[in-house]
Symmetry: C2
Subunit: 630 residues, 2 copies
């Protein structure tokens, strides 16, 4: 039984390809997980930066979140326009490719790819953060938990997640309900009671410190901006919507953005009123901001566990957004020749296996390198997303300018979008540079150079192989056929018989690896067998008998004397084709490989590597234990 | 530059094979290292068993060593007779094969092979034990040091050690001189001074305990017997002696045995007089018995470091005895078909690469499993050696009985040898069973079964392939040729041109991996190109034009539809041969592999695996960036 059948399910035929289109009810969980999940780590990341201020820090949370919500609103209107303009493929790569040309599109591709990888790492580590908040016992196992979740999501995606829509829908809507509920209840109590006592008091914040400097606020803003990652998912996935496409896309984008905005605003308000700050994730007793918030508003009861479970689920599943998006962008980039062709090749379950495996591997490496701690990964994040936003909006600006009719208001909207996300990007870059943003900043151009180099290779490959014009046939004289012979047996018999069907000029070559008197005797015996069992019977049939040549291989490598022989053989006909037949036993079981020398395989690959253009190498197989010996 | 050229040196031609014969001066270091090295761990191992007795233990050392020296003397005379009877190959495997048949010879082979592996592990760990005695700073690095030494000895042997005779001679004779000197000086002082004070007092032994039980003494004897391992080396290597072979072999054996006897007796005497016991190797501050002995007799001066260095060298080099012997025995066993053929294949430096690599790997695994501690490895040792002694002597007894003339005294000598080594073997087995001897006791029959299974496989392979009688030719009609075509380019042109030289019946097959309207357009374009660029020009030359067939591959695996097509194509001629030509780009650089899908390679191996006997698979190569595009 093949292990792959158990893990991945039976292979799927092309006609089983299920291009399921989504309405907005399915699209919100499918495309919104990344975005909604960021509501949990965005405010948390901003508060983490404010830790040194102690209780004073909370004063700044409201304004910071207000700023971010405003940015979100701008992005919302900008992306509505993108959707309207590109209702089949509105992703940043496609928009940049069409409007800005090669390099900006590669910039968008590199930024998107890096953003997707980081989204997996951040989503999973934040999910595990939520889990260890609820079950502190698990705190020592943060990294193994992270890697385990990546492995599960990877296998689920290798199987294909087509049928698992409810898997995403259930926790998504549960999450929205729970957290809008918590925030709503909290706000109601604040309004009714003025200054309500928390059900479970959050840990005390540090003593109030002096007012924040501008540097710290930029920093907190930059961290909080991670809340906005994932907004681009709808535009990237616009091809998947049901008719009416645009309406469905609008509704989906609206729901996602409005829920995110409500959550961000609500969390900021409630946290400010009940004095909830961030804690250090590396320390025991760590609780995430949302965990403290639910505890303070509703207490540690069954609801707490339901809410935290839904959060854990959507964080882990938010990694799934990358597993949908990353292989898709890689496929587009590979189809354009900037990535290896295997990224464009559907695997046994019709998903893009190469992209899924690559994403999992890189995300796992990142998690290991950063110990699975969200806070350490945050500085690398957001840059990719904001770069994507900016490139995409700039592309839209060019798009509107190119239109025949004037689109001033739309152009202005996208220009505002580009300017504000660009400004935010610059703030993030400055604030986070030394903390890790430099890694992303190096990774993006390195990725671009890599993409460009791959393209260059494929172009030169195509040029090398391109055939201008019809076939040119010089002659169709049969080739010289050389049969590599180890001994006279059924396998060499089969090879000789096949050789006789190809050409009258057959030469059997026996390569002598070692010298010595014993060997000479053996060689002599082979010569005699050959004369009796091959040459005479073949000649008796009126055919030209295959000669046997014994050639020494002084370095025990067989291809060298063989290639020399070929040069000599056809010295008078330098254009004549040569077919080398190598008899080979085909193994059925893995352990058989250890008992055979694989001389045939080595000889074959060396002949292919060192031979010239006249040479063709053929394998005459004998399937061990599976041939009828007749 | 190939890394192998740097590590291993340039490859050697067969004619460079240097079968250097040895006189006794070179033979003593080449064959005696294992045996002389055991003088250091034999007494130590016996004393380690006696640790619980404290100072009382030393009382038993003299008698135990006396017993072992007596056994050594018996073995000496027995082996002299073996050498005389088998002056070209006196090894246990050869003697057992000739006189006792298959199973005893496999028993000898398995015992020898295991003994060689253990000798590497024990020699190296004892060498490192000597090193950390001299430089206690290195104590935490026992295992890495062991593995490093195995790696160095491995590489030296992969290069071939032919030219490095002095490397062995120098430390061997230095060792003999130093330790015979130490022992002699110690004995002189004992005789002159009665009870001399040690220069550096060895650590105090534990308080005297009650007299030893028989069990403990058997145990100490069993451990001490490891001192005798390596005596068989001369008989195994008798083929390497210069003329007069027998005289050289006798002298070598005599020197080795006499020096070993002197060392064992001297060490026992001096250690008893100055109260030197064994220490625990796992503890810091560990010193080997020989280190204490040299310190007590001569002090920690320059001489101490010279002596200990020579000991370290010969222990590490004693592993080399295995690296010479193991590949040689494996080669003999492989030549008889009991081991994979690769063990009989000389590598680029004309050494038996497979045996050397296998020995290194297994020894390294053993060292890791046992933490590099000699004492833990000792119980596994000796069994193999004594089993080899016994089988070899029994073989000799049979040998003498088969002779026409009577050889009573010789037969008696070998019988005494067989009986005494057999008895020792039983004592070792009992005494060491629970400490690890059971591992060897399981490993030997498991190895035998493995050897026998391999032989069975080769016999059935030979039966399957054996060709009784002359070639049978039914017909020589040209085969159907199928050319796998991805696109119309230089590579497929080359394949078609080659196909036309083989047969008038050429079919080009294009496999459609994915469906969709875009693909249909592309397929249509290929059809048209094919008609214009291939079919029409070929027909214009008066040849039968190759048809193009487009076949869907619903599971994206190309071999299935291809095999079905072949069945259909030749439904009317079920015996007709089929040649499948697969065009393939041949890569020059390692990274090119990542940019190509290796579809050709996969298709090839699956066709070979699943195809039937009529099928031959040929590769038409295009050497990337190395073809003159003409």
């Amino acid at each position: 039984m093949d292990i792959r059948n158990i893990l991945l399910g039976r292979r799927l035929a092309n006609r089983e390809h299920d291009d399921k289109k989504l309405g907005w009810i399915e699209a919100v969980p499918a495309m919104g997980l990344d975005c909604l999940g960021s509501s949990s780590y965005g405010p948390e990341a901003a508060l983490t930066v404010l830790i040194p201020l102690g209780a004073t820090g909370l004063v700044y949370l409201g304004p910071l979140m207000g700023f971010i919500i405003a940015l979100l609103a701008i992005l919302y209107f900008s992306y509505r326009q993108t959707l309207a303009a590109y209702p089949t493929s509105g992703g940043a790569y496609a928009v940049a490719k069409e409007n800005l040309g090669q390099y900006p599109s590669l910039l968008a591709a590199a930024a998107l790819m890096i953003d997707y990888v980081l989204n997996v790492a951040v989503g999973v580590s934040a999910g595990v953060g939520a889990l260890v908040s609820a079950i502190p016992l698990l705190h020592p196992y943060i990294l193994p938990l992270c890697l385990g979740i990546v492995a599960i999501v990877m296998i689920a995606n290798l199987r294909g997640t087509g049928e698992a829509g409810w898997l995403f829908a259930l926790p998504s809507y549960l999450f929205i309900a729970c957290f809008l509920g918590v925030v709503g209840y909290g706000l109601t109590r604040i309004i009714l009671e003025g200054n309500p006592a928390p059900v479970v008091a959050p840990p005390r914040l540090g003593p109030p410190a002096a007012a924040a400097g501008i540097w710290l606020l930029m920093h907190a803003f930059a961290s909080g901006c991670t809340a906005m990652t994932g907004v681009e998912a709808v535009s990237n996935g616009v091809g998947s919507f049901k008719e009416p496409v645009l309406k469905n896309a609008y509704v989906t984008l609206t729901i996602i953005v409005v829920v995110l905005g409500l959550l961000l605003g609500g969390i900021a308000t409630v946290a400010t009123w009940i004095d909830i700050g961030a804690m250090d994730q590396t320390k025991d007793g760590y609780q995430s901001v949302l965990s403290q918030l639910v505890g303070a508003v509703a207490g540690y009861n069954a609801f707490y566990y339901v809410a935290m479970s839904s959060l854990l689920c959507i964080l882990c599943l938010s990694a799934n957004t990358s597993f949908v998006g990353f292989p898709r962008i890689c496929r587009m980039v590979a189809a354009d020749g900037y990535l290896p062709k295997s990224f464009a090749q559907p695997g046994r379950r019709l998903v893009f296996t190469a992209g899924i495996l690559f994403l999992s591997a890189v995300a796992a490496l990142l998690l290991v390198a950063f110990g699975g701690i969200t806070e350490r990964l945050i500085p690398l994040f957001a840059i990719g997303a904001f770069l994507t936003f900016t490139v995409s909006q700039v592309g839209m600006v060019v798009h509107w300018r190119r239109q025949a009719e004037s689109h001033r208001p739309k152009l202005a909207m996208n220009a505002i979008g580009a300017a504000s996300t660009g400004a935010a990007l610059i703030v993030i870059l400055f604030a986070k540079f030394t903390e890790g943003a430099w890694i992303t900043l190096i990774a993006i151009p390195v990725t671009m150079v890599l993409l460009k180099t791959i393209k260059k290779y494929y172009v030169s490959l195509e040029n090398e192989l391109r055939k201008p014009g019809p076939i040119v046939i010089e002659d169709v004289e049969p080739p010289t056929v050389i049969v590599v012979t180890e001994a006279w047996n059924r396998l060499s018999e089969r090879a000789i018989k096949f050789a006789l069907t190809l050409s009258p000029d057959v030469v059997a070559v026996h390569l002598i690896r070692l010298g010595g008197p014993e060997m000479e005797e053996r060689d002599q015996a082979l010569r005699e067998t050959w004369r009796e069992e091959v040459e005479e019977p073949v000649a008796a049939r009126g055919l030209k008998a295959p000669r046997l040549m014994l050639i020494p291989a002084p370095y025990r490598e067989l291809h060298e004397p063989l290639l020399k022989l070929i040069e000599k053989l056809d010295a008078d006909a330098p254009e004549r084709k040569v077919a080398i037949l190598i008899p080979e036993t085909v193994k059925d079981k893995w352990w058989q490989g250890a008992l055979h020398m694989n001389r045939a395989g080595k000889l074959r690959s060396q002949l292919l590597k060192f031979g010239d253009a006249r040479l063709t190498v053929a394998t005459v197989p004998w399937r061990l234990s599976r041939e009828k010996t007749g």
